[in-house]
Symmetry: C2
Subunit: 115 residues, 2 copies
Amino acid sequence: MREPTFFVLASLADGRKHGYGIIKDAEELSDGRVRLKVGTLYAALERLTAEGLVEAAGDEVVDGRARRYFVLTDSGTASLAAEAERQALNAARARARLTQRAAKSAVTTPKAATA
Amino acid sequence: MREPTFFVLASLADGRKHGYGIIKDAEELSDGRVRLKVGTLYAALERLTAEGLVEAAGDEVVDGRARRYFVLTDSGTASLAAEAERQALNAARARARLTQRAAKSAVTTPKAATA
DNA sequence: CGATATATATCGACGGTCGTACTATGGTCG
DNA sequence: CGACCATAGTACGACCGTCGATATATATCG
């Protein structure tokens, strides 16, 4: 799963949201790092709906603007959870190797004694 | 960064390796989950070399078979570290939301009292 | 001798994302 | 009042990393 898709699900994990709301929420949730493009978002919502991870949850007109709402399905919740586990594990594995590497290079390339 | 690319870097974080060795190592490192395709691997190695994250580290012939070795550059090490941080953070954020969601649904949909 | 593992190269196809352009309404500022 | 920005959604061509398949070559095992 790619990052934009991941944040669409993560955003909807918070509850019922409409497209533009997801964009804003994802940006906040990622500390400004992930700015979903409209094309990416609606393509993802269609795809995720077809896959059953997301469901349409009503169209409303607020302040004269049409909104399409969506919610996470149980399947979507499970997918997000699995993906989060996977990423956490991957990150942990990579970190472990990087720590080892740093320790090794500290021995191989001693710049200044820690004493 | 996509998962295959991430594991190519993570594998090389362990030290100098050749293509096929990376495939085997990535599979092990990911508990069998990530099986790099040869096309993906060599394309990634070329790309990463062009980007300066990876460097060619000598061709050798072992048991009559040609091997192309690669190592991580400092830039590659930094990229991998940054990517691991990012994924760990994303996963943590998603988990937090899922926990909240579970707590909320437990109140909304009480199945059996915990008492 | 045929099958499997090692080792690399190449290439068309696919799919998710990006970038851009477009339509439309409401609110703010000069 | 007109210009501009935020909100809200639609549409589409292009890009790029990955996949799947095919190919070549050597060593080993049965």
